[in-house]
Symmetry: C2
Subunit: 164 residues, 2 copies
């Protein structure tokens, strides 16, 4: 049995006890969270989010690229969110390599160099500030006065705010 | 008090009861989930995921763009995941508009047309198949033999697999 099959069995249990109350499409709390994909970072447990509360956008690093700007534009323009919470975290995989080395390894193996930036970073707090800057500098995200950035400390389960 | 402040109070409670056992960086279950950012879709509750289990990648629609290919390449190459679970869902915001209309509205308001595709779609199952195709066609994601796609039915809390 694959891990996917194991998780599908969990999904059947979820459906069996699902409250069919019917939640609306727009997030109840009007907030979008952008966080790293890291397995130890569970935005639901950490922020006390329930089904229906918030958009959750995630990728390697929790960085802001064109796709996060797209998702945030849709979140705010079509679904009414107004606040943005950015979460990076300690012991992040993105701190363990450089773009150049990672892409050179892929080129050595496949013969082709990826056409994307790997978005690795060396300084957590500075990368959170970069992400805030990319959001505030985007012309298509209308509401950028409530954007706050945090580092999740995986060792302690604690959020620490990154100040400008 | 902003919603962000309210969620930060939840985060303090999470830290207070956090098990400082220390989880490893690589996901325990070796799986990456790619899902829509929709507020009603909680991958932790649905799939029975706990902290440490899986990478979770999310955006508007749960579509595969360059940033998801980047995240999946990092997930598999650096952190050892081997299975991919894709989740779209019913009543998705991406079914309610077209790229052309959305971008024309932004252009009318800001004077500039976004340089991204909004990735709207009209057929859920077909877009899941498109996402699987984009992953299988990517030269930098090494393990694509265990990629399965699903539609989460928000009305019933149920996952339905999309077959080829």
């Amino acid at each position: 049995m694959s891990v996917t099959d194991e998780l599908l069995a969990n999904a059947e249990r979820y459906a069996a006890t699902f409250d069919k109350g019917g939640l609306p499409l727009p997030p109840a709390k009007g907030v979008a969270v952008v966080a790293c994909m890291d397995a130890r970072l569970n935005p639901y447990g950490l922020l006390g989010l329930a089904e229906g509360d918030a958009h959750v956008i995630r990728n390697a690093g929790g960085v802001i690229t064109a796709d996060e700007r797209r998702s945030l534009a849709i979140s705010q323009r079509l679904l009414g969110t107004r606040e943005i919470i950015l979460i990076h975290h300690t012991d992040c995989g993105m701190l363990t390599f450089t773009d150049d080395d990672f892409k050179a390894e892929i080129q050595a193996e496949t013969g082709v160099k990826p056409d994307w930036s790997a978005e690795a970073f060396a300084d957590l707090d500075e990368d959170v500030r970069q992400s805030i800057g990319r959001i505030k500098g985007d012309p298509f995200i209308p509401h950028t006065d409530q954007v706050r950035g945090f580092v999740y400390e995986v060792e302690a389960g604690r959020l620490r705010e990154v100040k400008d």
